[in-house]
Symmetry: C2
Subunit: 389 residues, 2 copies
């Protein structure tokens, strides 16, 4: 069954950081309104919505859809919460995309909002660990930092990657975030800073970790029919959105530094989109830890397994390099508000492909990929977007 | 865009009640296996899944999809959590239905599991209140019992329904549950019992309330292509699945004892299915409180607003009556394990339409409707099913 051409026509983002006074509910509405404004539509054009608010119970809220719909003034529109841990945002986009592509709606919204700082850091990490296989991981004290540390240790052992390479990922992402007004951190760091930062779970140091972040983002997804009817120019086609699953626990994987679900999703996405890896102008990938960025580059297929680190050493993933990775600053420096993260990636793609990303602009970018991981790879979503004129 | 014919080909349920030793994770896998067994397929036929586990954080789990997929031995299959409070189960079925109907998969699974008794009753009610608009409802002490009490008070005031009618709803549902092996309660009650039970939030008494329930259910959804290929006989067509939204807070409704989202969803469902109300042989509706069953009968359109209570008095909603409501025992007596509830409704429909419901069988039932409400009506899902031979 053919799906019809489907586009992102508007996007909004609420500055990532540590909010003093804003709730995730308020931030979701702000992001939604910015996206509606950006698309130049009326809220009443929206026919369906998908929302995500993984830390909702930290704010005593667990039925986020009607809260967002009511707040946007479209109370009859049904909005559903979707969750796949840190991949929730991209899943929301995928469901919005499918609703439109399959003809269930002409206009859909995807909204993600988190206020992770509604609870203290220890509690936030405890809640995060519920995204792991708690029976064998979180419950035994294995936080995600520890789990990714296992992946990093194995990667270094198997491929001889020097410790410095991970610091370089952090430095690049902090450099990119300097030019992203929505980023949490606007702080230049050096390789030395990163290498001297405190160990969190060896070999992962503080500057290898994405921060606990408050953040919100929203995108408007529309059909080709709607776009033609409204004469909309600023549109980014969603070429494909693929979701794949992996084992719940890291211990059940065949190879620690390979996320099999990412390989499956990427292979399928490129096949459906009839594209090669070299066609991608930049990618926003899930660098929850610096090791994750390198693993992602390899899983997507930009580099062979075990060779991604060499590309980092040679600067190939910087803006202006062979394949810019995370021009937004990534989860590391832009921030990682769990459920909002994937939607924030799409917001970055929207700005970049329209050529509106200012000093972090990837020149001439026409096709972009996003890669969003839930937990250690229990879920992966790969989306490919293309500017159409 | 036309959707292709889509069916439920298997269903499983884990006895509702207060489990001593089973986690929701174990129950989800058991329900999934029973559904797979019932459909006579291999787990490997499943291509996508939707799960729900609203009380997951009470068991420290928040990434349920990979847990279920891994446990069923199909780790590469992506499963996503969907949530709309107490309507989550029907939303999971709707997403599974749409995935198949739109050609994204030939076989999908929907699984819901809850262990609400993982926490004490007060905590469970607190968690439930997160499904309300917590800013103006739960946070002010308005639990769902209180909110539905407001609906009931207004209903009695406006339509002159006697207190006894609500007791009769409870008695009927307890009678039906006597013959449902999966029901939580196998306990006959009298109108007098119900009228004498303690007041919880006036005028709602204990026997007007659905219980805090552990429960799990699963259904297998498949395309017509798959059914033909496999030569499957026992199939129930999903004629339509419609989801609608309403205001987050009860206070913003135009009329307290009308759930507008239910009317919208039902009107749309009947229109799409080209059916009249009289074509429905029985319905499973969301009787979280006895008042909710009467409101549902009217919102769906079986009775005019304000007249549903008369039908109850005359026994029209009993098995063998004009339009049997909740032959399973309903949320009241079968039980209400939040995220599993809507999937349990579909399981009942599957048994009934195949004529396998034993002593609670609605004779000759060919077409059935399910009605599942999230919160006080922020979300409503109406599904219509038909036996096809």
């Amino acid at each position: 069954m053919d799906l019809r051409p489907t586009y992102i026509i508007g996007a909004g983002i609420v500055k990532y950081g540590k909010w003093k006074n804003m709730t995730s509910r308020e931030a979701a509405l702000l992001a939604g309104k910015l996206a509606i404004e950006s698309a130049e539509i009326s809220p009443r054009d929206i026919e369906i919505g998908f929302v995500t608010n993984v830390f909702g119970f930290a704010e005593n809220q667990a039925h986020f859809g009607p809260v967002v719909a009511t707040g946007l003034g479209i109370k009859d529109v049904s909005m559903t919460t979707v969750e796949n841990a840190c991949a929730s945002g991209s899943v929301a986009i995928r469901e919005a995309y499918l609703s439109v592509a399959a003809g269930q709606a002409d206009v859909a919204i995807a909204v993600g909002a988190e206020r992770m700082n509604a609870v203290d850091t220890i509690t936030a990490n405890t809640y995060m660990s519920y995204g792991s296989d708690f029976v064998v991981e979180g419950g035994s004290g294995a936080t995600f930092i520890g789990l990714y540390a296992s992946m990093m240790t194995r990667y270094m052992h198997e491929y001889g990657a020097p410790r410095e390479v991970f610091a370089k990922v952090a430095v690049k992402n902090h450099n990119n975030a300097l030019h992203n007004p929505a980023a949490m951190f606007h702080k230049k760091i050096t390789v030395e800073d990163a290498l001297k930062s405190p160990v969190i779970a060896w070999p992962i140091r503080l500057f290898d970790c994405s921060p606990i972040t408050d953040g919100a983002a929203a995108v408007i997804v529309a059909s080709d029919d709607f776009i033609k009817k409204e004469g909309i120019d600023e549109k980014i086609r969603i070429l494909v959105s693929v979701k794949a699953g992996g084992t719940s626990a890291l211990q059940d994987r065949e190879h620690l530094p390979t996320i099999r679900a990412a390989r499956i999703a990427a292979d399928k996405a490129f096949k459906i989109a009839h594209l090669e890896r070299k066609d991608i102008d930049f990618a926003e990938v899930h660098d929850c830890f610096t090791i994750a960025e390198i693993v992602a580059m390899e899983d997507i297929g930009f580099y062979k397994k075990g060779e991604g680190w060499k590309a980092v050493m040679e600067g190939e993933t910087e803006i202006g390099g062979k394949i810019p990775i995370n021009p937004s600053g990534g989860l590391k420096a832009k921030g990682h508000p769990v459920g909002a993260t994937g939607i924030g990636m799409a917001e970055e793609v929207f700005e970049q492909l329209l050529g509106e990303a200012g000093k972090r602009q990837v020149e001439g970018a026409e096709i972009a990929l996003t890669h969003n991981v839930g937990a250690t790879g229990g879920t992966v979503v790969v989306n490919i977007y293309k500017r159409e004129r």
